[in-house]
Symmetry: C2
Subunit: 230 residues, 2 copies
């Protein structure tokens, strides 16, 4: 589905492989994409710099970084330094239960922020890079959550009442990690520019042991591709 | 309905009459209330100080002020200084259409923040001071929005999956402003401590002409009570 390049869209961009692939996909599909990254007190703040580079290189119309410090909430290994990021879990355990890297209400908050911006831009689409296969077991990555968000978005906003709220678009929702790797390559994205790790070194090297690293490695292995970031 | 004072709850506290009355109501009903105020770039930032005083005086367990700068979104007279707050509108126009003081997705964002905190506190209830009668016509003050939020909250969070998400409580939803004034007095709240104005002076004096001031004045007049704040 292609279209006029003037259809504005908002995307949640983290600097990881999934959201970068989603950005490239949205641009391919004719959207003028406004990218939003949230600095929420995440352990892996280096992803924000990667998001900046990716937004610029792929051709986002603009990129905003918004501060929303979630460390006061805590309750996650990503926002509370006293909780360790699990390492080297069995691959079969990934997606089995909600792990400690889940951040309370994160996707609801981020989508709500994107929705606020989309309303002022009168954006037709709101893109998010979630996927429900080969994922970490987060409740807010499931299709039923996205459907409920679309419903509340229509009721919460002026755009929903007077015009129509943006559609929530998750083009990767049914893809495996291997399929996402192949889609990224098809779109001309360099996966080496993205970072997935929850607990990278200060220089940005992946730990290769957290769930995000394990899922990424599984994806590249199954796709038969070498990860240029490792 | 009274209960053990140990049932934790989260409340969105703005420093206005409605949320202060809701806080007093929640405490009367046996909740240990954790109050949350958002500094979002609002024109009337003085309300944050009032919220602090109210939380302390009424006996909230704790009070947090969270920064979430919505001026990058704009699109509202409350967050964009170039848009004027409407003054002296006809009383009959209040609630007729969505006014320019509506802030895109504000209540969705604030409820999502409160939900994140509620999850970590394992709070049973999430209080919000919205009312759908004698209000400003905001889409995110309607019962159907709150119902949709309760649904998305159940799907977005660990609390919703593994335990149960907090109930969204809006005890003022069906009250007129006059009834809210009388309820505040019944609860022993001093309305003079609250501030409703969208465009107060630096010293915190109400403008007496914005929609919020007009609705407040109508409430006190209909209740037959003098507003100690004016």
């Amino acid at each position: 589905m292609s279209g006029s390049p003037t259809r504005p869209a908002v995307i949640l961009l983290s600097g990881g492989l999934d959201s970068a692939t989603t950005l490239a996909w949205a641009i391919e599909h004719g959207h003028a994409v406004h990218a939003l990254t949230v600095r929420y007190g995440q352990r892996h703040e280096i992803e924000i710099e990667r998001a900046r580079e990716i937004a610029r290189d792929l051709g986002a119309v603009e990129h905003r970084v918004v501060d929303l410090d979630l460390t006061f909430v805590g309750g996650s290994a990503l926002t509370d330094r006293s909780i360790e990021v699990p390492k080297s879990r069995a691959e079969t355990a990934l997606g089995d239960g909600i792990p400690v890297t889940y951040v309370p209400a994160r996707n609801l908050l981020f989508l709500s922020l994107a929705l606020a911006w989309a309303e002022v831009l009168d954006a037709t689409d709101l893109f998010v890079g979630v996927n429900a296969l080969d994922y970490s077991g987060y409740p807010d990555c499931r299709p039923e959550f996205l459907a409920a968000f679309e419903r509340v978005a229509a009721l919460a906003t002026r755009q929903g009442i007077e015009r129509r709220p943006p559609r929530i678009r998750a083009p990767l929702i049914d893809l495996s990690k291997a399929q996402i790797v192949l889609e990224a390559l098809r779109l001309g994205l360099d996966p080496g520019r993205t970072i997935s790790c929850y607990d990278p070194s200060e220089a940005g090297a992946a730990c290769r042991q957290c769930d995000a690293c394990l899922l990424r490695a599984k994806g590249f292995r199954e796709a038969g591709v070498t990860d240029p970031a490792i």
